[in-house]
């Protein structure tokens, strides 16, 4: 009722903003986990999307077989993602720190294994997380969005804020930043690199799986559900300025908003085109990304 003449376009813009920020928050969560691992270990883990997907399945499994309480399922998935991260670091990526091409090969292998493993265990059909209360539509005037939109925003805000406090205040968090800046100096002050790498991967895996568990109830859970966040998360990292946590967060939000608003003036199929055009334009104007400084690889 507030904008009688302009009601449709203004509401549409706002509605897409809500959608865009929600998806952007998921991209941001995804991107932050990848940036952490890259910053500390110089490892690009393209299997991060597979961990995201595993988070979706873990959430489905928890809701169906452990506890129907969604927050419990979220914790279950997050803990599972941390465990997966630990295993990936120990068995695969610790050995590949200096070797980007092998990181890519190993990631592709892991993605294949994860997707086929999931096909074997859960079948090819997409699964629905049984949580009707999360899909309930809330109305704010003419604006409609689901409970899950709010849950996603709140969960991502809490996760990013906690991560910030961890990195800026805690002994281990500062040690992670220290190791990312100078691994040799970290060793001589008694920071064991292998422990830092393990913690970094656990944290990264937890964030990825949390993302999958958050998006699961809105979309479905299926083997390829990590592909979209991988593509957009990588774009967010480059857009934000390869390396910084805040760059990844803001880059993720920017991409979510942009692709949602793009559907208002271009066919839906073109939204990725809009996002990549914006990415290229940004990099032409600011080669270090939107929020990048001279600092590279700093979490």
């Amino acid at each position: 009722m507030a904008f009688p003449a302009m009601a449709f376009p203004a509401m549409a813009v706002i509605a897409q903003a809500v959608n865009g920020i929600m998806m952007g928050a998921v991209y941001a969560l995804f991107a932050v986990g990848m940036v952490l691992v890259f910053g500390v270990m110089r490892v690009l883990n393209f299997a991060h999307g597979a961990v995201f997907m595993a988070g979706g399945y873990l959430c489905w499994f928890a809701m169906a077989h452990v506890s129907p309480i969604y927050p419990v399922a979220l914790l279950f998935s997050t803990a599972g993602g941390a465990a997966i991260g630990l295993v990936l670091e120990r068995l695969v990526f610790r050995r590949l720190r200096e070797n980007l091409s092998m990181q890519i090969v190993a990631s592709l292998g892991l993605i294949l294994m994860a997707q086929n493993g999931v096909l074997l265990l859960f079948g090819a059909d997409a699964l629905q997380i049984e949580a009707p209360s999360l899909r309930r539509v809330l109305r704010l005037g003419e604006l409609g969005f689901t409970v899950q939109h709010l849950v996603i925003l709140a969960a991502v805000a809490v996760a990013v804020a906690s991560l910030h406090v961890f990195l800026s205040r805690s002994r281990l968090g500062i040690a992670m930043r220290a190791a990312s800046q100078d691994i040799q100096a970290a060793r001589v002050v008694g920071i064991a690199p292998d422990r830092v790498f393990a913690i970094t991967f656990a944290l990264s895996g937890a964030l990825a799986a949390l993302g999958g568990a958050l998006l699961g109830p809105l979309f479905l859970v299926f083997p390829g559900m990590g592909d979209l966040p991988l593509l957009k998360g990588l774009t967010a990292i480059v857009l934000g300025g390869m390396g910084s946590v805040w760059g990844a967060v803001l880059g993720g939000l920017a991409i979510g908003l942009l692709e949602a608003e793009a559907t208002l003036f271009a066919p839906t199929d073109y939204r990725d085109l809009v996002v990549f055009a914006a990415l290229i334009a940004t990099l032409l104007l600011r080669p270090r990304g939107l929020f990048g400084t001279a600092i590279r690889g700093e979490p």
Partner: protein
């Protein structure tokens, strides 16, 4: 012309020896660089290792700190055999190392760098007391607490490295070229800081290219040539040795 002389200083493990290294050999991927080194550093003593570029000085210190895997020999710290211990366990037992080149964390603040110096101290009150003691010892750093270490001057960064290391209150401090890249006045300050630490009972072992000034600040010196200790003597004797002067002091 190679220097040849018998070691004058006793190399058997003296009771006062804070750090004692026996028959240490070390290298990289099958290529041994350091070849059968014996050395001792007593509490209260400053010992300087000199030698040409590539002689293996850094390799020797890195091997003692167990930053190299490829090594044989024995290392004792205040009498205890610590040969097999990893770097962080050595640090916990009192052996600290400041590597060659800058080793501050550039994008951590001075306060955060000091806190990381005490990474292995789990007692928060002790950690705070140790950091405060270092800020008292280096007032210039106290004023720069919240400044990223990258913004400090070269001399201040060196002070920060030493202060950060002393947060662990090590018995033995090893430094690889502490004077490199510093103005002459600052070099004097760094060496007098090290003398002060020795006076306080620390054992200091450093590698230096600034041979004359380092030996002037040292009790003893070791000449390393192709990974072997060619000569160990009192610093004053090395300063008066014409072969040492010709080969390592440019004249």
């Amino acid at each position: 012309m190679p220097i040849s002389a018998d070691p004058i200083v006793q190399t058997s493990a003296l009771p006062a020896s804070a750090l004692s290294v026996r028959n240490l050999s070390a290298g990289y991927a099958g290529r041994m660089i350091v070849d059968g080194i014996d050395l001792d550093v007593a509490a209260g003593e400053v010992v300087t290792i000199i030698g040409q570029n590539g002689a293996g000085k850094s390799t020797l210190l890195r091997a003692i700190a167990h930053l190299l895997r490829q090594r044989t020999g024995a290392i004792r710290l205040r009498g205890a055999d610590v040969t097999a211990l990893p770097t962080e366990a050595l640090l916990q037992r009192g052996l600290a190392f400041i590597p060659q080149g800058r080793s501050i964390f550039p994008r951590l603040t001075v306060a955060e760098n000091l806190r990381m110096g005490g990474f292995l101290l789990r007692d928060a009150a002790l950690l705070r007391a140790r950091i405060d003691a270092q800020l008292d010892a280096f007032p210039a750093l106290a004023a720069l607490r919240e400044t990223p270490a990258a913004n400090l001057s070269g001399g201040q960064q060196r002070q920060l490295e030493i202060a950060r290391t002393m947060v662990m209150d090590p018995a033995v401090l090893m430094l690889d070229e502490p004077s490199i890249g510093l103005a002459p006045l600052i070099v004097g300050q760094v060496f007098s800081t090290l003398r002060g630490l020795a006076a306080a009972g620390k054992a200091v072992l450093m590698v230096e290219q600034n041979v004359r000034r380092a030996l002037e600040a040292s009790d003893r010196g070791i000449v390393l040539e192709l990974g072997r200790a060619k000569l160990q003597d009192h610093a004053s004797a090395l300063l008066g040795d014409e072969r040492v002067a010709r080969l390592y002091m440019g004249g």
